[in-house]
Assembly symmetry: C2
Homo-oligomer: 339 residues x 2
């Protein structure tokens, strides 16, 4: 199935009710914020590349105040313009092409064009899920501008068509994205968990702000094509998802954060086994890991996760915050559940 | 089966012929050199911990002039003494205990004791296979001193009981260690391949001379116990062994060395997925890998392998030797086939 047909399927009830007016903006402007999310159980590998359908379910937690604010407004020119953090992007850039292709899913030939003004307060493409919150805020802003009043489930399905993990970026707190089994992807959406954990912190340890050398999309595909170890990744996820639920239920921090660390390292392990090998570790990444492990051996309950990039996200609780910041002075500390 | 019983089985023909005199030294001294070996297809995981029987076959190449020279002599005192590179080791050290336990396999209660003088020209326990050549030279020196005149196959079986990869350290050139299927291990020995490759070089890149934080023995066991990715390691080895044979047949350097690199990275990948995680990468290891990959993208045919330690062994051919040394000035270059 093509993305276009998936969109038609999701909009079917609305189309029956409102007809083609669905594809016309109802307001001059649209606005939405979406928080970025960090997976504790990673999304790694697609069962359908076109629809971004994942091989496995995944579990994330949002960084409540880090993310993407998207302002949409009608644009008189004959093309969309994307402004990122105040700077107009070249129409030839990959990111602009991806956004235009996404808007085309909702646009009948040249009926409207948009000025898309995106404010990101996290680094772009450095493994801090900028495309996840980017597409989540974009679909939410479209929902606002076109007054679709879609359900969160439908928004999650649509966000997924822009970027897989965007499906999870529509809520704060813990979010589970169900892998689903259907080929049309209608059962592959995310939902928030009811659980809160007010004492939980994440610290973003930026090893570099450089864009990553290989996109997660490409890395994922190469892993599936060439890593003999990938075959056991779905089994790892199935096990870890059970443990995550137990850990959340029991508020067992070490179990939660330790499983997140193991899950992340296992994802990177599948990449090392590719040919050519994929290695998102930089020397500074390893140095930071070794420091975390040493602190843990010394008794500090500190864990990390790592996405498809060299940066680490440290996981800890409030009582250890000062010690963690002492060990990592440049850490960008985020309280995961705002009171 | 216990090691002691395995030794009895190997010596059975000799015992029938010579009786218990087999267990008495026939000379005052014994001497042997064994080269260290670097696996291109790694030995990772045991099917029998007592007998060091491997889960898979493996393939190595010897560093012809790097290794262990062992001098044995009768010692009047009531215990064995181990001297390593001129320094007497404490009787309580792990290494001395391992050697004594190994000698006990051939000794009837307190009949003799030895001064074991080992000269290693490679760093100890830093992932350059010091225990492999150590035990290979020890069994060869015993063979000399006791005048057993054992076959190379029997020496390989006996060396394996000291340290798994010692089974491969009795020859120069390429050596294959057959995993075998028997529970007594009598079919798990190594053999040299006839193939020579006079243009092949290995460069030892010492990132550190420190002893490794976790022994390969312990790392192997934790991998089998806790790494969900390990299940696919035997499949990786089976595939790679086929490719290695093709590469040797066709003298296809990139295929040989690339497969060695992929095999090593896959072994380390299985360790990252352990809990607690095992990571032999140091920041300098990653920096060196990234440099190798950059040089390769720039057109240089340069690959690496890595054992259970932070150091890399670079693999290249004669025509690129100067370029490789220019990029890595501290490299210890070894010609693998001496003319």
């Amino acid at each position: 199935m093509k993305k276009f047909d998936a969109v038609q399927l999701i909009f079917q009830p609305l189309l029956q009710q409102k007809g083609d007016s669905v594809w016309q903006p109802q307001r001059e402007k649209g606005l939405a914020f979406a928080p970025t999310n960090i997976a504790l159980c990673k999304y790694w590998g697609k069962r359908d590349e076109e629809l971004n359908l994942p091989m496995t379910s995944s579990l994330s937690v949002a960084l409540p105040e880090k993310g993407s604010m998207t302002h949409l407004s009608l644009h008189n020119k004959n093309e969309d313009v994307v402004v990122l953090n105040g700077e107009a992007l070249s129409p030839d850039s990959q990111f602009v092409k991806r956004i235009k292709a996404y808007l085309d899913l909702f646009r009948q030939e040249n009926t409207w064009h948009l000025l898309i003004d995106i404010q990101l307060n996290i680094p772009v493409a450095a493994g801090v899920a900028s495309s996840a919150c980017g597409f989540a805020s974009l679909i939410s802003a479209l929902n606002d501008m076109f007054v679709w009043q879609l359900s969160m489930r439908d928004l999650s399905l649509l966000a997924r068509l822009g970027s897989g993990s965007a499906a999870r970026s529509l809520w704060t707190g813990f979010v589970e994205w169900h892998a689903g089994v259907q080929s049309d992807g209608m059962d592959s959406y995310a939902e928030p968990l009811k659980m809160e954990w007010s004492d939980l912190y994440m610290g973003i340890l930026l090893v570099t702000r450089e864009e990553k050398s290989i996109s997660s999309r490409e890395a994922m595909q190469r892993t599936i094509d060439s890593s003999v170890l990938y075959a056991n990744w779905p089994r790892k996820v199935a096990r870890d998802m059970v443990i995550f639920r137990q850990a959340l239920q029991a508020k067992n921090f070490s179990l939660l954060a330790g499983t997140a660390e193991s899950n992340a390292l296992t994802m990177h392990a599948t990449m090392l086994s590719c040919w050519p090998p994929i290695c998102y570790f930089m020397p500074e990444t390893i140095a930071a890991m070794q420091r975390v492990w040493q602190l843990r051996r010394d008794g500090l309950e500190l864990y990390f996760t790592q996405d498809a990039g060299p940066n680490l996200k440290l996981i800890f609780t409030g009582k250890n915050k000062d010690k963690v910041v002492e060990a990592f002075p440049d850490l960008d500390v985020v309280k995961l559940f705002v009171e």
